[in-house]
């Protein structure tokens, strides 16, 4: 595919403008905007295409082999590991996008511990049931206050900013901005661990 078309620029566009176009697109399709989103795989493919196009253009222009773009890894949305084998299966089902199966397995679980509520919250989140997800995450945090995974999930949900810069409702204050950056870096750390 034509790399210029992918970035929406022409061969005559200056390096700076190509970089700007790349950054703009990378901001839109950044993995952080698609955490726990059922369309994350498509966003990932798009991001890869954009990175490759940018690398190709830059290497063509400078005559050297690529590697100029910032490669962003998509960490698995469900980072943590479970001691309970059933929960591991449920995590696998959620990661594979099989929400109906994950929900059914959860319903059949006899115990309702913190991890159960966390996983249920993750299923709700993927379904787009954000309010129910928040309630389940809160319950998980209450039952196990020391767990960073649950805390991060709840913070992520309650953070209204950071979604591709799409903040339709609020005007951001300087203070807000800092808290969000802090939260964001927390979340990124957590995602990096992978499964």
């Amino acid at each position: 595919m034509d790399p210029y078309k992918v970035l929406g620029v022409t061969p005559e566009t200056s390096d700076d403008d190509v970089k700007r176009a790349y950054r703009e697109l990378a901001r839109k399709y950044h993995p952080d905007n698609y955490v726990n989103n059922p369309l994350a795989d498509l966003a990932e493919a798009r991001m890869k295409e954009i990175n490759e196009a940018y690398d190709q253009i830059m290497s063509q222009r400078s005559g050297r082999a690529g590697g100029a773009s910032q490669q962003q890894g998509y960490g698995g949305a469900q980072g943590g590991a479970s001691a309970n084998p059933i929960y591991s299966q449920i995590r696998a089902a959620i990661n594979a996008g099989n929400l109906a199966m994950a929900e059914e397995m959860l319903q059949r679980c006899p115990q309702r511990d913190a991890e159960w509520y966390f996983l249920m919250g993750s299923v709700y989140y993927r379904k787009g049931w954000f309010d129910e997800a928040g309630r389940a995450y809160e319950q998980a945090c209450q039952m196990d206050a020391s767990n960073a995974e649950y805390r991060n999930a709840l913070n992520m949900l309650n953070m209204s900013g950071g979604y591709g810069g799409y903040r339709p409702m609020a005007t951001m204050s300087a203070c807000d901005c800092c808290t969000q950056l802090m939260c964001l870096s927390c979340c990124c750390n957590c995602c990096g661990n992978g499964c």
Binding site: K28, Y29, N33, Y34, N37, P38, L39, L42, A43, R46, Y124, K127, G128, W129, F130, D131, E132, G134, L157, N158, S160, Y163, G164, Y166, R167, P168, M169
Partner: protein
Amino acid sequence: MFGFIRPVKSELRVREVERFQSVYCGLCHAIRRRYGRVHTLSLSYDMTFLTLLLEGLQPEGADTGRRRCDASPVRPKNVLCEDAAVAFAADVSVLLTYHKLQDTIADDRGLKRLAARLLCLLSRRGYRRACEKQPALDRTMAACLQELSAVEKAGTPSIDRAADPFARLLAACVPGLEGDTGRILQELLYHVGRWIYLIDACADLQDDWESGGYNPVALRYGLTAPSLEPVKGALELTLEKSLAAIYAAFLLLDVRRDQEILENIICLGLPAVTRQVLDGTYQSNGGRNRHGSL
């Protein structure tokens, strides 16, 4: 329940306003040609949004012609010609309106119910024709609305559970699109449906409170007075999440035209309506008798 999805006109270019109006008129003409004059009552901004969205995915855009109509009998207006996308949106409009009327007959009392009965009677023939064209969609709509009425009768105290049937109903309004595009559209429309249902529940809080009707927002937060003030923050967050999901899905669609108008609706129009409804400043006619012409 209709009319929440609209662009912010002051942020549109002149040609974009004209384009929006030609799509609005195009949908109206398509409904009238396919189903008859009565059904043009089912025309709405929401369905204009659907038309724009589907039209943007067509490989070849439809032409624009000039035509007169009941609302503008003398001066012809620019009208988007009927193609597959417009025709599908027309079918959806007619089906959705008919089912909504049925819903009103089942749930409401008095004058409203009588009016719904009358309109149902008048639009029955058109509805049957729409059923023949979109039988699967008609079945899904009926099933989803039945679920919705069960959820309402049970007094479910969850906004997500209450919104789910209507969200799935809207997610079903996708013409047989292949592969990823269909998936993206379903996700997008699911959240449009969730947002519409919840914003409608917020706007109706006062009425439901007085009539004692089911209101998921009041039950979820255990409100003790018909005011959104104490739960505004929580509602804003959950609605904003759906808006972000709509935009995230929209970015993945390969929209060939009208990108700016659609972005205006998603990024400016929907948040503006959300703010207005939560503040209690929303007017269904867009203020100052402006309904129908943006």
